[in-house]
Protein backbone atom coordinates (compact mmCIF):
# COMPACT_ATOMS: atom_id res chain seq x y z
CA UNK A 1 0.00 0.00 0.00
CA UNK A 2 1.54 3.28 -1.14
CA UNK A 3 1.93 6.01 1.45
CA UNK A 4 0.86 9.14 -0.40
CA UNK A 5 2.01 11.36 2.44
CA UNK A 6 5.53 9.96 2.15
CA UNK A 7 5.38 10.36 -1.62
CA UNK A 8 4.21 13.95 -1.30
CA UNK A 9 7.02 14.71 1.17
CA UNK A 10 9.69 13.39 -1.20
CA UNK A 11 8.09 15.16 -4.16
CA UNK A 12 7.75 18.57 -2.49
CA UNK A 13 11.24 18.39 -1.01
CA UNK A 14 12.73 17.70 -4.41
CA UNK A 15 10.80 20.60 -5.90
CA UNK A 16 12.06 22.84 -3.08
CA UNK A 17 15.58 21.80 -4.00
CA UNK A 18 14.79 22.85 -7.57
CA UNK A 19 13.51 26.22 -6.39
CA UNK A 20 16.67 26.75 -4.34
CA UNK A 21 18.63 26.55 -7.56
CA UNK A 22 15.95 28.19 -9.71
CA UNK A 23 18.38 30.74 -11.11
CA UNK A 24 20.62 28.02 -12.49
CA UNK A 25 17.83 25.56 -13.26
CA UNK A 26 15.61 27.94 -15.21
CA UNK A 27 17.83 30.68 -16.56
CA UNK A 28 20.56 28.44 -17.95
CA UNK A 29 18.27 26.45 -20.30
CA UNK A 30 16.43 29.64 -21.31
CA UNK A 31 19.69 31.36 -22.16
CA UNK A 32 21.02 28.31 -24.03
CA UNK A 33 17.80 27.93 -26.02
CA UNK A 34 17.78 31.64 -26.85
CA UNK A 35 21.33 31.35 -28.15
CA UNK A 36 20.36 28.39 -30.33
CA UNK A 37 17.48 30.41 -31.79
CA UNK A 38 19.67 33.42 -32.38
CA UNK A 39 22.37 31.35 -34.12
CA UNK A 40 20.37 28.64 -35.90
CA UNK A 41 17.01 30.34 -36.14
CA UNK A 42 17.83 33.93 -37.04
CA UNK A 43 21.42 33.92 -38.34
CA UNK A 44 21.56 30.61 -40.23
CA UNK A 45 17.86 29.75 -40.43
CA UNK A 46 17.12 32.72 -42.68
CA UNK A 47 19.28 31.15 -45.40
CA UNK A 48 17.78 27.64 -44.99
CA UNK A 49 14.88 26.38 -47.09
CA UNK A 50 11.61 25.26 -45.46
CA UNK A 51 11.72 21.63 -44.32
CA UNK A 52 8.55 19.70 -45.10
CA UNK A 53 6.75 23.01 -45.43
CA UNK A 54 7.95 24.18 -42.00
CA UNK A 55 10.08 27.29 -41.55
CA UNK A 56 13.58 26.24 -40.37
CA UNK A 57 13.34 28.31 -37.18
CA UNK A 58 10.12 26.52 -36.27
CA UNK A 59 11.48 23.16 -37.46
CA UNK A 60 14.21 23.13 -34.81
CA UNK A 61 11.86 23.87 -31.85
CA UNK A 62 10.95 20.22 -31.10
CA UNK A 63 14.62 19.24 -31.38
CA UNK A 64 15.76 22.01 -29.05
CA UNK A 65 12.97 21.13 -26.65
CA UNK A 66 14.10 17.50 -26.71
CA UNK A 67 17.76 18.54 -26.26
CA UNK A 68 16.92 20.46 -23.07
CA UNK A 69 14.37 17.93 -21.89
CA UNK A 70 16.72 14.95 -22.12
CA UNK A 71 19.66 16.75 -20.52
CA UNK A 72 17.77 18.46 -17.72
CA UNK A 73 15.51 15.52 -16.88
CA UNK A 74 18.40 13.10 -16.71
CA UNK A 75 20.59 15.40 -14.62
CA UNK A 76 17.77 16.49 -12.27
CA UNK A 77 16.80 12.94 -11.55
CA UNK A 78 20.33 11.56 -11.30
CA UNK A 79 21.42 14.35 -8.93
CA UNK A 80 18.21 13.89 -6.94
CA UNK A 81 19.21 10.38 -5.88
CA UNK A 82 23.00 10.64 -6.18
CA UNK A 83 23.37 13.55 -3.74
CA UNK A 84 21.68 11.74 -0.82
CA UNK A 85 23.93 8.77 -1.53
CA UNK A 86 26.99 10.99 -1.68
CA UNK A 87 26.19 12.97 1.48
CA UNK A 88 24.83 10.00 3.42
CA UNK A 89 21.35 11.49 3.86
CA UNK A 90 19.91 8.50 2.03
CA UNK A 91 19.86 6.72 5.42
CA UNK A 92 16.62 8.52 6.17
CA UNK A 93 14.93 7.33 2.99
CA UNK A 94 16.14 3.76 3.46
CA UNK A 95 15.08 3.59 7.09
CA UNK A 96 11.63 5.06 6.39
CA UNK A 97 8.58 2.92 5.67
CA UNK A 98 8.71 3.79 1.99
CA UNK A 99 9.23 1.47 -0.95
CA UNK A 100 10.01 1.70 -4.62
CA UNK A 101 6.64 3.26 -5.49
CA UNK A 102 6.92 6.23 -3.10
CA UNK A 103 10.56 6.77 -3.98
CA UNK A 104 10.00 6.68 -7.71
CA UNK A 105 6.84 8.75 -7.76
CA UNK A 106 8.50 11.29 -5.43
CA UNK A 107 11.88 11.63 -7.13
CA UNK A 108 10.86 10.92 -10.72
CA UNK A 109 7.63 12.90 -10.39
CA UNK A 110 9.59 15.91 -9.18
CA UNK A 111 12.14 15.55 -11.99
CA UNK A 112 9.26 15.31 -14.48
CA UNK A 113 7.57 18.38 -13.05
CA UNK A 114 10.78 20.37 -13.32
CA UNK A 115 11.20 19.24 -16.92
CA UNK A 116 7.64 20.16 -17.83
CA UNK A 117 8.12 23.61 -16.32
CA UNK A 118 11.31 23.95 -18.38
CA UNK A 119 9.53 22.73 -21.53
CA UNK A 120 6.86 25.39 -21.04
CA UNK A 121 9.51 28.06 -20.49
CA UNK A 122 11.37 26.98 -23.63
CA UNK A 123 8.21 27.06 -25.72
CA UNK A 124 7.43 30.56 -24.47
CA UNK A 125 11.04 31.62 -25.14
CA UNK A 126 10.84 30.15 -28.66
CA UNK A 127 7.71 32.19 -29.32
CA UNK A 128 9.79 35.33 -28.84
CA UNK A 129 11.96 34.32 -31.80
CA UNK A 130 9.77 32.20 -34.10
CA UNK A 131 6.12 32.05 -35.06
CA UNK A 132 4.86 28.49 -34.66
CA UNK A 133 1.77 26.51 -33.82
CA UNK A 134 1.35 23.00 -32.41
CA UNK A 135 -0.75 20.67 -34.58
CA UNK A 136 -1.54 18.15 -31.84
CA UNK A 137 -1.10 19.96 -28.50
CA UNK A 138 -2.53 17.15 -26.34
CA UNK A 139 -0.39 14.52 -28.02
CA UNK A 140 2.60 16.87 -27.72
CA UNK A 141 2.01 17.23 -24.00
CA UNK A 142 1.54 13.49 -23.58
CA UNK A 143 4.69 12.81 -25.55
CA UNK A 144 6.72 15.33 -23.55
CA UNK A 145 5.45 13.74 -20.33
CA UNK A 146 6.34 10.26 -21.56
CA UNK A 147 9.86 11.30 -22.54
CA UNK A 148 10.27 13.19 -19.25
CA UNK A 149 9.13 10.10 -17.30
CA UNK A 150 11.40 7.76 -19.25
CA UNK A 151 14.49 9.93 -18.85
CA UNK A 152 13.72 10.68 -15.21
CA UNK A 153 13.82 6.94 -14.63
CA UNK A 154 16.99 6.70 -16.70
CA UNK A 155 18.55 9.51 -14.64
CA UNK A 156 17.51 7.73 -11.45
CA UNK A 157 19.34 4.60 -12.59
CA UNK A 158 22.35 6.74 -13.50
CA UNK A 159 22.31 8.36 -10.04
CA UNK A 160 22.33 4.93 -8.39
CA UNK A 161 24.96 3.50 -10.72
CA UNK A 162 27.38 6.42 -10.39
CA UNK A 163 29.86 6.27 -7.54
CA UNK A 164 31.54 9.56 -8.36
CA UNK A 165 30.72 12.87 -10.02
CA UNK A 166 32.62 11.96 -13.16
CA UNK A 167 30.40 8.96 -13.82
CA UNK A 168 27.37 11.09 -13.09
CA UNK A 169 28.30 13.51 -15.85
CA UNK A 170 29.81 11.13 -18.37
CA UNK A 171 26.61 9.60 -19.78
CA UNK A 172 24.78 12.90 -20.46
CA UNK A 173 27.96 14.54 -21.76
CA UNK A 174 29.44 11.74 -23.87
CA UNK A 175 26.31 9.96 -25.05
CA UNK A 176 23.07 11.85 -24.56
CA UNK A 177 24.09 15.26 -25.92
CA UNK A 178 25.98 13.95 -28.99
CA UNK A 179 23.18 11.51 -29.82
CA UNK A 180 20.63 14.30 -29.53
CA UNK A 181 22.67 16.57 -31.80
CA UNK A 182 22.94 13.69 -34.29
CA UNK A 183 19.31 12.74 -33.77
CA UNK A 184 17.79 15.29 -36.12
CA UNK A 185 17.60 18.25 -33.73
CA UNK A 186 18.78 20.68 -36.40
CA UNK A 187 18.01 18.72 -39.56
CA UNK A 188 15.78 16.09 -41.07
CA UNK A 189 17.54 12.78 -41.51
CA UNK A 190 16.25 12.83 -45.13
CA UNK A 191 18.89 15.51 -45.68
CA UNK A 192 21.68 13.03 -44.86
CA UNK A 193 23.50 11.30 -47.74
CA UNK A 194 23.28 7.54 -48.02
CA UNK A 195 24.12 5.41 -46.05
CA UNK A 196 24.05 7.91 -43.18
CA UNK A 197 20.29 8.36 -43.37
CA UNK A 198 19.92 4.63 -42.64
CA UNK A 199 22.69 4.54 -40.02
CA UNK A 200 21.00 7.46 -38.25
CA UNK A 201 18.01 5.21 -37.58
CA UNK A 202 20.18 3.24 -35.16
CA UNK A 203 20.22 6.35 -32.95
CA UNK A 204 17.27 6.01 -30.53
CA UNK A 205 17.08 9.79 -30.06
CA UNK A 206 16.03 10.13 -33.73
CA UNK A 207 12.71 8.50 -32.82
CA UNK A 208 12.18 10.84 -29.86
CA UNK A 209 12.90 14.03 -31.79
CA UNK A 210 10.91 12.80 -34.75
CA UNK A 211 7.96 11.85 -32.56
CA UNK A 212 7.81 15.24 -30.92
CA UNK A 213 8.21 16.97 -34.27
CA UNK A 214 5.20 15.02 -35.58
CA UNK A 215 3.03 16.26 -32.69
CA UNK A 216 4.08 19.81 -33.59
CA UNK A 217 3.81 19.78 -37.38
CA UNK A 218 2.06 16.55 -38.38
CA UNK A 219 5.05 15.23 -40.35
CA UNK A 220 8.29 13.56 -39.31
CA UNK A 221 11.15 11.31 -40.37
CA UNK A 222 9.73 8.27 -38.55
CA UNK A 223 6.19 6.99 -38.05
CA UNK A 224 4.72 8.54 -34.89
CA UNK A 225 3.60 5.18 -33.49
CA UNK A 226 7.09 3.78 -33.85
CA UNK A 227 8.30 6.78 -31.82
CA UNK A 228 5.64 6.19 -29.16
CA UNK A 229 6.47 2.47 -29.11
CA UNK A 230 10.19 3.08 -28.61
CA UNK A 231 9.55 5.66 -25.88
CA UNK A 232 7.21 3.27 -24.06
CA UNK A 233 9.69 0.40 -24.43
CA UNK A 234 12.47 2.57 -22.95
CA UNK A 235 10.15 3.57 -20.10
CA UNK A 236 9.34 -0.08 -19.40
CA UNK A 237 13.00 -1.11 -19.54
CA UNK A 238 14.02 1.62 -17.06
CA UNK A 239 11.15 0.66 -14.72
CA UNK A 240 12.25 -2.97 -14.81
CA UNK A 241 15.86 -2.03 -14.01
CA UNK A 242 14.74 0.13 -11.06
CA UNK A 243 12.48 -2.64 -9.76
CA UNK A 244 15.50 -4.96 -9.86
CA UNK A 245 17.66 -2.36 -8.06
CA UNK A 246 15.15 -2.00 -5.25
CA UNK A 247 14.61 -5.73 -4.98
CA UNK A 248 18.31 -6.47 -4.63
CA UNK A 249 19.31 -3.22 -2.90
CA UNK A 250 22.14 -2.80 -5.44
CA UNK A 251 24.22 0.28 -4.53
CA UNK A 252 21.55 1.33 -2.03
CA UNK A 253 21.87 -1.06 0.88
CA UNK A 254 25.16 -2.49 2.10
Amino acid sequence: MISWRSTWSIYTRELMRFLRTAFQSVLAPVLTTSLYFIVFGAAIGGRMPDLGGVDYGAFIIPGLLMLTLLGETTSNSSFGIYMPRFTGTIYELLSAPVGVAETLIGFVGAAMTKSLILAAIILVTARLFVDYSIAHPLLAMLYIMLVAAAFSLFGFILGIWADNFEKLGIIPMLFLTPLTFLGGTFYSIDMLPKPWDTIALANPIVYLVSGLRWTFYGSSDVNIWVSFGITLAFLAACTAVIAYIFKTGWRLRA
Binding site: S3, R5, Y91, E92, S95, G99, R253
Partner: protein
Protein backbone atom coordinates in the same frame (compact mmCIF):
# COMPACT_ATOMS: atom_id res chain seq x y z
CA UNK B 1 9.32 -3.19 30.85
CA UNK B 2 9.72 -6.90 30.06
CA UNK B 3 7.69 -6.90 26.86
CA UNK B 4 10.10 -7.60 23.98
CA UNK B 5 9.87 -5.10 21.15
CA UNK B 6 12.89 -6.16 19.14
CA UNK B 7 14.04 -9.74 18.71
CA UNK B 8 17.08 -10.71 16.69
CA UNK B 9 17.90 -14.35 16.12
CA UNK B 10 21.03 -15.67 14.45
CA UNK B 11 21.59 -12.31 12.76
CA UNK B 12 24.60 -12.62 10.50
CA UNK B 13 26.08 -10.20 8.00
CA UNK B 14 28.96 -11.10 5.74
CA UNK B 15 30.06 -8.26 3.46
CA UNK B 16 31.01 -9.04 -0.15
CA UNK B 17 34.72 -8.83 0.74
CA UNK B 18 34.25 -11.68 3.21
CA UNK B 19 34.22 -9.58 6.40
CA UNK B 20 31.82 -11.10 8.93
CA UNK B 21 30.45 -7.99 10.59
CA UNK B 22 27.73 -9.82 12.54
CA UNK B 23 28.11 -13.42 13.64
CA UNK B 24 24.87 -15.08 14.67
CA UNK B 25 23.69 -12.34 17.00
CA UNK B 26 20.77 -13.14 19.31
CA UNK B 27 19.34 -10.15 21.13
CA UNK B 28 16.04 -9.18 22.69
CA UNK B 29 15.25 -5.57 23.55
CA UNK B 30 12.55 -4.87 26.10
CA UNK B 31 10.03 -2.08 25.94
CA UNK B 32 11.06 1.12 27.70
CA UNK B 33 14.66 0.22 28.42
CA UNK B 34 17.85 1.99 27.51
CA UNK B 35 20.21 -0.52 26.01
CA UNK B 36 23.85 0.37 25.45
CA UNK B 37 25.74 -1.55 22.83
CA UNK B 38 29.44 -1.32 23.54
CA UNK B 39 32.33 -2.46 21.44
CA UNK B 40 35.57 -1.34 19.86
CA UNK B 41 35.72 0.17 16.38
CA UNK B 42 34.63 -2.28 13.70
CA UNK B 43 32.93 -4.56 16.22
CA UNK B 44 29.64 -4.56 14.28
CA UNK B 45 27.60 -1.99 16.24
CA UNK B 46 26.66 0.15 13.25
CA UNK B 47 26.04 -2.91 11.07
CA UNK B 48 23.60 -4.23 13.67
CA UNK B 49 21.73 -0.92 13.70
CA UNK B 50 21.83 -0.77 9.91
CA UNK B 51 20.36 -4.26 9.61
CA UNK B 52 17.39 -3.37 11.82
CA UNK B 53 16.85 0.00 10.15
CA UNK B 54 17.00 -1.27 6.58
CA UNK B 55 20.40 0.12 5.58
CA UNK B 56 22.12 -3.25 5.56
CA UNK B 57 20.87 -6.52 4.08
CA UNK B 58 21.51 -9.33 6.57
CA UNK B 59 23.06 -12.50 5.19
CA UNK B 60 20.96 -14.70 7.47
CA UNK B 61 18.93 -14.63 10.65
CA UNK B 62 15.57 -13.18 11.59
CA UNK B 63 14.52 -9.81 12.95
CA UNK B 64 11.19 -8.99 14.52
CA UNK B 65 10.18 -5.54 15.74
CA UNK B 66 6.89 -4.98 17.54
CA UNK B 67 5.92 -8.47 16.42
CA UNK B 68 6.44 -7.68 12.72
CA UNK B 69 8.95 -9.61 10.65
CA UNK B 70 11.36 -6.97 9.36
CA UNK B 71 12.00 -8.87 6.14
CA UNK B 72 8.35 -9.04 5.08
CA UNK B 73 6.30 -6.65 7.21
CA UNK B 74 8.94 -3.92 7.27
CA UNK B 75 6.62 -0.98 6.64
CA UNK B 76 4.70 -1.38 9.90
CA UNK B 77 7.88 -2.01 11.86
CA UNK B 78 9.94 0.81 10.40
CA UNK B 79 7.15 3.33 10.97
CA UNK B 80 7.85 2.92 14.70
CA UNK B 81 11.64 3.00 14.56
CA UNK B 82 13.81 6.12 14.54
CA UNK B 83 17.49 6.40 13.72
CA UNK B 84 20.08 9.02 14.60
CA UNK B 85 23.13 8.17 12.50
CA UNK B 86 26.72 8.52 13.58
CA UNK B 87 27.60 10.95 10.79
CA UNK B 88 26.03 14.40 10.62
CA UNK B 89 24.14 13.49 7.45
CA UNK B 90 21.42 15.91 6.48
CA UNK B 91 20.69 18.46 3.79
CA UNK B 92 22.74 21.33 5.20
CA UNK B 93 20.96 23.94 3.05
CA UNK B 94 17.56 23.19 4.54
CA UNK B 95 16.12 25.25 7.39
CA UNK B 96 15.73 23.31 10.66
CA UNK B 97 11.91 23.41 10.77
CA UNK B 98 11.49 22.20 7.20
CA UNK B 99 14.01 19.38 7.67
CA UNK B 100 12.17 18.09 10.74
CA UNK B 101 8.74 18.46 9.11
CA UNK B 102 10.02 16.55 6.08
CA UNK B 103 11.07 13.63 8.28
CA UNK B 104 7.57 13.45 9.76
CA UNK B 105 5.99 13.44 6.31
CA UNK B 106 8.47 10.88 4.99
CA UNK B 107 7.28 8.45 7.66
CA UNK B 108 3.72 8.94 6.45
CA UNK B 109 2.39 11.15 9.25
CA UNK B 110 0.16 14.17 8.74
CA UNK B 111 1.75 17.58 9.37
CA UNK B 112 1.55 18.56 13.04
CA UNK B 113 3.15 21.97 13.62
CA UNK B 114 2.45 21.81 17.37
CA UNK B 115 4.25 18.48 17.73
CA UNK B 116 7.19 19.73 15.69
CA UNK B 117 7.33 22.83 17.91
CA UNK B 118 7.35 20.63 21.02
CA UNK B 119 10.19 18.54 19.68
CA UNK B 120 12.22 21.58 18.65
CA UNK B 121 11.62 23.27 22.01
CA UNK B 122 12.60 20.13 23.92
CA UNK B 123 15.91 20.10 22.05
CA UNK B 124 16.46 23.86 22.44
CA UNK B 125 16.17 24.30 18.68
CA UNK B 126 13.04 26.44 18.50
CA UNK B 127 15.02 29.67 18.28
CA UNK B 128 16.96 28.20 15.36
CA UNK B 129 13.96 26.83 13.48
CA UNK B 130 14.38 29.13 10.47
CA UNK B 131 18.14 28.85 10.27
CA UNK B 132 19.87 26.71 7.72
CA UNK B 133 21.38 23.63 9.29
CA UNK B 134 24.80 24.51 7.90
CA UNK B 135 24.82 27.62 10.09
CA UNK B 136 24.48 25.61 13.31
CA UNK B 137 27.23 24.32 15.58
CA UNK B 138 28.15 20.61 15.59
CA UNK B 139 26.17 19.94 18.76
CA UNK B 140 23.12 21.72 17.36
CA UNK B 141 23.37 19.75 14.12
CA UNK B 142 23.32 16.54 16.12
CA UNK B 143 20.22 17.78 17.93
CA UNK B 144 18.59 18.42 14.55
CA UNK B 145 19.25 14.79 13.64
CA UNK B 146 17.63 13.73 16.91
CA UNK B 147 14.66 16.01 16.19
CA UNK B 148 14.33 14.47 12.72
CA UNK B 149 14.39 10.98 14.24
CA UNK B 150 11.75 11.96 16.82
CA UNK B 151 9.49 13.73 14.30
CA UNK B 152 7.48 10.57 13.58
CA UNK B 153 7.21 9.77 17.30
CA UNK B 154 9.06 6.42 17.25
CA UNK B 155 8.68 3.84 19.98
CA UNK B 156 12.19 2.55 19.39
CA UNK B 157 15.08 4.91 18.80
CA UNK B 158 18.59 4.01 17.67
CA UNK B 159 21.31 6.46 18.61
CA UNK B 160 24.57 5.62 16.90
CA UNK B 161 27.34 7.36 18.84
CA UNK B 162 25.09 10.27 19.88
CA UNK B 163 27.83 12.15 21.69
CA UNK B 164 30.76 11.50 19.37
CA UNK B 165 32.78 14.66 18.99
CA UNK B 166 30.72 16.84 21.32
CA UNK B 167 32.14 18.57 24.38
CA UNK B 168 31.45 17.53 27.96
CA UNK B 169 28.69 20.08 28.51
CA UNK B 170 26.82 19.11 25.36
CA UNK B 171 27.33 15.44 26.17
CA UNK B 172 25.61 15.90 29.51
CA UNK B 173 22.84 17.83 27.75
CA UNK B 174 22.43 14.89 25.39
CA UNK B 175 22.17 12.52 28.34
CA UNK B 176 19.36 14.67 29.72
CA UNK B 177 17.58 14.44 26.36
CA UNK B 178 17.90 10.66 26.33
CA UNK B 179 16.58 10.59 29.88
CA UNK B 180 13.53 12.57 28.75
CA UNK B 181 12.95 10.05 26.00
CA UNK B 182 13.01 7.26 28.54
CA UNK B 183 10.42 9.14 30.58
CA UNK B 184 8.22 9.42 27.51
CA UNK B 185 8.41 5.64 27.14
CA UNK B 186 10.73 5.55 24.14
CA UNK B 187 12.99 2.51 24.05
CA UNK B 188 16.53 3.60 23.27
CA UNK B 189 19.38 1.56 21.85
CA UNK B 190 22.62 3.49 21.82
CA UNK B 191 26.11 2.70 20.75
CA UNK B 192 28.90 4.59 22.35
CA UNK B 193 32.62 4.71 22.85
CA UNK B 194 32.16 6.54 26.12
CA UNK B 195 31.66 3.75 28.63
CA UNK B 196 30.83 6.43 31.18
CA UNK B 197 27.80 7.20 29.05
CA UNK B 198 26.53 3.64 29.27
CA UNK B 199 27.27 3.57 32.98
CA UNK B 200 25.30 6.78 33.45
CA UNK B 201 22.22 5.89 31.44
CA UNK B 202 21.86 2.27 30.41
CA UNK B 203 19.54 -0.24 32.03
CA UNK B 204 21.22 -3.07 30.16
CA UNK B 205 24.53 -3.37 28.42
CA UNK B 206 25.59 -5.55 25.51
CA UNK B 207 29.22 -6.03 24.58
CA UNK B 208 29.99 -6.86 20.99
CA UNK B 209 33.33 -7.85 19.58
CA UNK B 210 34.20 -9.03 16.06
CA UNK B 211 30.49 -9.33 15.27
CA UNK B 212 29.74 -11.53 18.27
CA UNK B 213 27.63 -10.44 21.20
CA UNK B 214 29.85 -11.70 23.98
CA UNK B 215 27.75 -10.50 26.89
CA UNK B 216 24.33 -9.00 27.56
CA UNK B 217 23.24 -8.20 31.08
CA UNK B 218 21.61 -5.68 33.37
CA UNK B 219 24.15 -2.98 33.99
CA UNK B 220 23.87 -3.29 37.77
CA UNK B 221 24.07 -7.10 37.61
CA UNK B 222 27.13 -6.85 35.37
CA UNK B 223 28.75 -4.43 37.79
CA UNK B 224 27.89 -6.72 40.71
CA UNK B 225 29.18 -9.80 38.94
CA UNK B 226 32.30 -8.38 37.41
CA UNK B 227 32.94 -5.26 39.47
CA UNK B 228 35.85 -5.18 41.93
CA UNK B 229 37.14 -2.98 44.73
CA UNK B 230 40.84 -2.25 44.94
CA UNK B 231 42.27 -0.73 48.12
CA UNK B 232 45.85 0.21 49.04
CA UNK B 233 46.56 0.64 52.74
CA UNK B 234 49.85 2.41 53.53
CA UNK B 235 51.33 1.10 56.78
CA UNK B 236 53.18 3.22 59.32
CA UNK B 237 55.71 0.41 59.85
CA UNK B 238 56.61 -2.42 57.51
CA UNK B 239 55.34 -5.93 58.25
CA UNK B 240 56.75 -9.26 57.10
CA UNK B 241 53.64 -11.46 57.40
CA UNK B 242 49.88 -10.99 57.37
CA UNK B 243 48.19 -11.34 60.74
CA UNK B 244 45.96 -14.41 60.96
CA UNK B 245 42.85 -12.23 61.31
CA UNK B 246 43.32 -11.00 57.71
CA UNK B 247 43.73 -14.45 56.17
CA UNK B 248 40.03 -14.61 55.22
CA UNK B 249 40.40 -11.52 52.97
CA UNK B 250 42.05 -11.26 49.53
CA UNK B 251 44.93 -9.15 50.82
CA UNK B 252 48.58 -9.15 49.74
CA UNK B 253 51.67 -7.47 51.13
CA UNK B 254 53.29 -5.06 48.66
CA UNK B 255 56.15 -2.57 48.43
CA UNK B 256 58.45 -4.38 50.84
CA UNK B 257 55.82 -4.69 53.55
CA UNK B 258 54.89 -1.00 53.67
CA UNK B 259 51.56 -1.47 51.92
CA UNK B 260 48.63 -3.89 51.87
CA UNK B 261 46.62 -4.39 48.71
CA UNK B 262 43.03 -5.60 48.77
CA UNK B 263 41.39 -6.81 45.52
CA UNK B 264 37.90 -8.14 46.00
CA UNK B 265 34.25 -7.35 46.41
CA UNK B 266 31.58 -7.65 43.76
CA UNK B 267 30.53 -4.17 42.79
CA UNK B 268 27.64 -4.10 45.27
CA UNK B 269 29.53 -2.46 48.13
CA UNK B 270 30.85 -5.66 49.70
CA UNK B 271 34.40 -4.61 48.84
CA UNK B 272 34.16 -1.32 50.72
CA UNK B 273 32.68 -3.08 53.75
CA UNK B 274 35.52 -5.60 53.76
CA UNK B 275 38.10 -2.79 53.53
CA UNK B 276 36.49 -1.21 56.61
CA UNK B 277 36.68 -4.57 58.41
CA UNK B 278 40.35 -4.95 57.42
CA UNK B 279 41.22 -1.52 58.89
CA UNK B 280 39.49 -2.43 62.14
CA UNK B 281 41.40 -5.75 62.23
CA UNK B 282 44.69 -3.90 61.65
CA UNK B 283 44.02 -1.56 64.55
CA UNK B 284 43.06 -4.54 66.74
CA UNK B 285 46.39 -6.15 65.83
CA UNK B 286 48.22 -2.92 66.72
CA UNK B 287 49.24 -2.27 63.14
CA UNK B 288 49.02 1.43 62.38
CA UNK B 289 48.38 2.82 58.89
CA UNK B 290 48.87 6.26 57.36
CA UNK B 291 46.51 6.25 54.40
CA UNK B 292 43.89 4.33 52.46
CA UNK B 293 43.21 4.57 48.75
CA UNK B 294 40.00 2.79 47.66
CA UNK B 295 38.87 2.51 44.07
CA UNK B 296 35.76 0.83 42.67
CA UNK B 297 36.14 -0.65 39.19
CA UNK B 298 34.10 1.09 36.53
CA UNK B 299 32.13 -0.36 33.64
CA UNK B 300 35.09 0.65 31.52
CA UNK B 301 37.40 -1.62 33.56
CA UNK B 302 34.94 -4.47 33.10
CA UNK B 303 34.64 -3.72 29.38
CA UNK B 304 38.40 -3.65 28.91
CA UNK B 305 38.93 -6.82 30.92
CA UNK B 306 36.17 -8.65 29.00
CA UNK B 307 37.66 -7.66 25.67
CA UNK B 308 41.06 -8.73 26.94
CA UNK B 309 39.73 -12.16 27.93
CA UNK B 310 38.14 -12.59 24.51
CA UNK B 311 41.31 -11.59 22.68
CA UNK B 312 42.37 -14.53 20.51
CA UNK B 313 45.70 -16.13 21.37
Amino acid sequence: MNEPILELEGLTKVYPGGLKALDSVDLTIRKGEIFALLGPNGAGKTTLIGAVCGLVRPTSGTMHAFGHDLSTDWRKARARIGLVPQELSTDMFEPVHRAVSYSRGLFGLAPDPKRIEEILRSLSLWDKKDERIMALSGGMKRRVLIAKALAHEPDLLFLDEPTAGVDVELRKGMWAIIDEMRERGVTVILTTHYIEEAEEMADRVGIIRQGKLIMVDEKDAMMARLGRTEAHISLANPITALPASLSQYPVEIEEGGTSLCYRGGDGTGRGKAEVADITKALLAEGIDYTGIDVRESSLEDIFVSLLGEEEPA
